[in-house]
């Protein structure tokens, strides 16, 4: 939510040559802004995999580091770095536009110095990331060990359709 101000007249990240792109194909940096619900995670992974290399991930807000205020929510993951490699994180909930700009500039410096190369990790440890992703996205048994007491048929109609 602080992203629009960061892009617009007051802070204007475009003066550093940073601009939003419409599709993952054109993007260098994936900004994960805030909490990531399971449904979103699934889309983030697809989006991330569609980006051409080299690519970087900027995790935005505390929620992507340890769950933040939503750490105990049943639908948000706690640590984004378990699922996709994160280059740089910005703490705060939500971080101020200055923090976003700072992070982007730090990322640019890191790219120049060659520090930021998390996308290589994704290739190398693909199994690890995939296992983590599948664990949360493709679960088939209840996590809390109880069987649902009522039939929940038709629950995933949309997904199967």
């Amino acid at each position: 939510m602080e992203l629009p101000p960061a892009m617009t007249s007051r802070w204007d990240v475009e003066r550093f040559g940073i601009g939003p792109m419409a599709t993952p194909r054109q993007a260098d940096v994936l900004l994960v802004t805030g909490y990531v619900s399971l449904k979103t995670l699934k889309r983030i992974i697809r989006t991330y995999e569609q980006m051409p290399e080299p690519k970087w991930v900027l995790a935005f807000g505390s929620c992507t580091v340890n769950g933040g205020i939503y750490w105990d929510s049943y639908n948000t993951i706690t640590n984004l770095a378990e699922y996709i490699p994160v280059d740089i994180t910005v703490s705060g909930c939500m971080p101020r536009p200055e923090a976003v700009m700072d992070a982007l500039q730090t990322l640019m410096k890191m790219i120049q110095s060659g520090e930021a190369g998390a996308y290589k990790k994704y290739k190398e440890n693909y199994e690890y990331y995939k296992a983590n992703q599948d664990r949360v996205l493709k679960k088939t048994v209840p996590i809390l060990g109880q069987t649902p007491e009522m039939d929940l048929e038709g629950k995933n109609e949309d997904a199967k359709e």
Partner: protein, 161 residues
Amino acid sequence: MKMQKSDVIKQLVDRGNKVYDLYENQIALEVKKDNLLNDLVFLRSIGFEHLSFITAVDFIDEGEFEVVYHVWSYTHKIHILVKVRIDRKEPILPTVNNLWEQAQFYEQEVHEFFGIKFEGNNDLSPLFLENWVDIPPLRKDFDTREFSIRLYDAEVDGGDI
């Protein structure tokens, strides 16, 4: 034609319902499951045409769900909480989506989060969650902390404590 709150209460009491006068402009009405549709139709006919939303409360100690229909009258300027209690083991209610079209989505939501079924509603597919295999999350016996810790390796309070 604006009715006073007392008139409304009187009318409702005359129909044999329990009415609680909560606050200025707000009353609660307890109805029987079998009477639910009749009463809602009656309320609509006397001007309570705005359905704010439908929600449910899980009274686990009493073994009951309470489904609350929030209706508001533009003319009388009174908000009524229409409450209906149902057995937790057999949570079935008639659908009201032919009274209010948007009830479709509220019913889907309540079904998704509480497992309450609405008879006559053909589409109770999940609206928000994907691939959900545990018990409906808003029930009191679902422990979201435990769930989050087990599935997402969440640390208590984000590991701060």
